[in-house]
């Protein structure tokens, strides 16, 4: 469908240019004075010293969700690795110790140099085991090998960094909601 945008024709004052130029000068002057007298209200931040506020919904570095006992929630179903367009997820499965679950992961590597941060792995996961809400946008290493993030690293996150009203997110060792979570899992509370 073609949508035609009708432009309003300029009236003769606007065609003269000079008055519109003065209007533009007024606008830029306001911005310049704001920079001088209200420096702190500038929308940009001096980056390394002050980090910009990043939303939890932003697709940043991955993390693996945990069960209340600290083991990864992942069931090694390979859905994320299949969905991944960049083929950056490598999973090695093993038999799970828990009788109710068939498999658990032995190895779960994400190559962050190959990853395109599309979020399809998060969409694909049937058990909500992988998320991209760490808000970590810049992680720097000296060699390529270090960008391949291991399972341990993906599981190493602090429940305090995540919103408390997210029930699932708090389910981790030391998390506040662990008691309820263990109850809902039917496990004994230690």
């Amino acid at each position: 469908m073609v949508r035609q945008v009708k432009q309003k024709p300029m009236n003769w004052i606007e065609k003269l240019y000079i008055f519109e130029a003065f209007r533009g000068l007024y606008v830029t002057l306001k911005h310049a004075l704001r920079g001088v007298f209200r420096y702190e209200t500038l929308p940009t931040v001096p980056y390394p010293e002050q980090k910009p506020e990043i939303n939890h919904a932003y697709r940043a570095k991955h993390r693996l969700m945990l069960r209340p006992d600290g083991s990864p929630r992942c069931v090694a179903c390979q859905m994320c690795a299949t969905a991944c367009p960049a083929k950056c997820i490598y999973i090695e499965a093993s038999t799970s110790a828990d009788g109710r679950i068939e498999k658990s992961i032995q190895r779960f590597d994400i190559d962050h140099l190959v990853c395109v941060f599309c979020g399809l792995c998060v969409e694909a996961c049937p058990v909500d085991a992988i998320r991209m809400d760490t808000r970590e946008t810049s992680y720097v290493h000296r060699d390529r090998q270090s960008f391949i993030t291991s399972m341990e690293e993906l599981m190493d996150w602090d429940p305090k960094d995540y919103p408390e009203d997210d029930f699932q997110s708090q389910v981790a060792p030391g998390g506040k909601r662990n008691k309820e979570a263990l109850d809902s899992w039917g496990l004994k509370v230690n």
């Binding site: 130029a21 704001r34 001088v36 500038l42 001096p46």
Partner: protein
């Protein structure tokens, strides 16, 4: 030789030689203009502008001087880069071209009057010193003639680079400078008719006695301002270096300090033009409703008021600093303690300067009572009064010029670039005609009213 030396008193020689330092004022404008331009552009675009570089002081840590160090180190980098010429250029002309616009800005301010002609008694003698370095009747014409020479820099650079972009850029610059010189010349004719002289100090004297040029000749002021911006080759008329079309125009092939000279030439040119606008249309060194003789007879009070103005500016600056420090303390900046440490230096310097200036102002008001001798029925004061008056007048002129520098920057970051044919149409079909009509009307009125 001896007769020449003896023709003037030694103090006259001394002041006349010291006046040569004014040749470097437009060059010193660069130190102010580049930070003003880059941070001003930042603020206008809601950015912070360049402020990263710093030097270290023992207790205060990283001193950034509000971005000034950043610009200085950019200049330093430019200075130490290798001079590079592409294969096939005309070596001599290629090396010569950047020097021309820069040499011009050292010569052009020779006719600018920085203060009203000084008359003072020194010992037994009465000494007269003019406000400009070259005291000549052609005045403004000389200034225009010299600053028009900077077109040669662009032409030679464009030709010697042997690059089509440079050549086109050089051609455009030449065409623009020539067409806008015409507008420039005709638009100031009105004020010259009113003042009846090409001498800049006469023009200022006329404005001092009547009204500012901008009130007497508002149309000419706008024509002059637009022609000035176009002649300097700045946005919105910078078609000569329009990036989408010509890479960088005539200085495409230049790097390092050769490019730096073009850059500095352009900025000094803005400095000269700002001074010229403030002289021709805003009364130059004169202060409205306060004549030179008033300043001289109340020199202590004048200097005191000047000191109080500075104190007020410093206090306003300190207020901003304290307000921002309060914000910083509450913020989550990782380096806020370092910034607060840096600001403590500015606060110390600011308070010290404010206190000193306040004391100087009070002392000046209370104790600077000039003595005078009557010569031909006019009061003539000593050298202290003359120098104090000159100091005030230089500062007034520079303050006006700095405001116009800001206008240049302000316009550059507001208006989009004109198309080349639009620039030429504006120059030849609009501004020139308006300026001629303005000239005819002014001439008619001047003839009607009589002098």
């Amino acid at each position: 030789m001896i007769e020449i030396i003896q023709s003037k008193h030694w103090i006259e020689w001394l002041i006349n030689i010291a006046k040569f330092a004014f040749a470097f004022v437009p060059v010193l404008f660069i130190l102010l203009l580049i930070p003003l331009e880059r941070r001003g552009a930042g603020f206008i675009q809601d950015r912070q502008g360049p402020n990263r570089s710093y030097f270290r002081l023992p207790y205060f840590g990283k001193i950034r001087l509000f971005g000034w160090v950043h610009n200085a180190s950019d200049g330093l980098k430019l200075f130490f880069k290798e001079n590079y010429a592409p294969h096939g250029v005309n070596k001599l002309l290629f090396l010569l071209a950047p020097a021309i616009p820069f040499a011009v800005v050292l010569i052009a301010p020779a006719v600018i009057p920085w203060f009203a002609p000084m008359v003072f008694t020194f010992g037994e003698e009465v000494i007269r010193i003019s406000g400009q370095n070259v005291n000549t009747d052609v005045g403004l014409l000389l200034l225009f003639a010299i600053s028009a020479l900077s077109a040669y820099g662009a032409v030679l650079a464009g030709w010697a680079s042997k690059s089509k972009y440079s050549l086109l850029g050089g051609l455009r610059t030449t065409a623009m400078i020539i067409s806008y010189e015409v507008c420039l010349g005709i638009s100031i004719m009105g004020i010259l008719l009113l003042a009846g002289s090409f001498r800049l100090d006469q023009i200022i004297a006329w404005q001092d006695a009547h009204v500012w040029g901008v009130v007497a000749q508002p149309v000419a002021f706008f024509c002059f301002l637009i022609a000035m911006i176009a002649e300097t080759g700045r946005a919105p008329f910078d078609v000569a270096e329009g990036e989408p079309e010509l890479v960088a125009g005539f200085h495409t092939e230049y790097g390092a300090m050769q490019f730096g000279l073009f850059y500095m030439g352009e900025y000094s040119h803005i400095g000269i033009n700002s001074i010229l606008v403030s002289i021709l249309f805003f009364g130059g060194y004169s202060i409205p409703f306060v004549s030179t003789s008033t300043i001289q007879s109340n020199v202590g009070i004048s200097l005191g008021v000047l000191a109080f103005v500075f104190v007020f500016a410093i206090l306003a600056f300190l207020h901003l600093l304290y307000r921002y420090s309060r914000y910083l303390k509450k913020s989550s900046y990782a380096n806020k303690s370092a910034i607060l440490r840096e600001y403590s230096l500015y606060k110390i310097v600011g308070w010290a300067a404010a206190a000193l200036l306040l004391a100087a102002g009070v002392i000046s008001i209370m104790y600077f009572k000039p003595a005078y001798t009557l010569i031909d029925g006019q009061a003539v004061y000593g050298i202290g009064v003359a120098l104090g008056t000159a100091f005030i007048q230089i500062l007034v002129l520079l303050a006006k010029a700095v405001f116009f520098c800001w206008v240049w920057i302000w316009i550059r970051w507001t208006l989009p670039r004109f198309r080349y044919d639009h620039v030429m149409n504006l120059g030849w079909k609009v501004i020139l005609n308006v300026a001629i009509v303005n000239l005819v009307i002014t001439a008619f009125i001047v003839k009607l009213i009589g002098d």
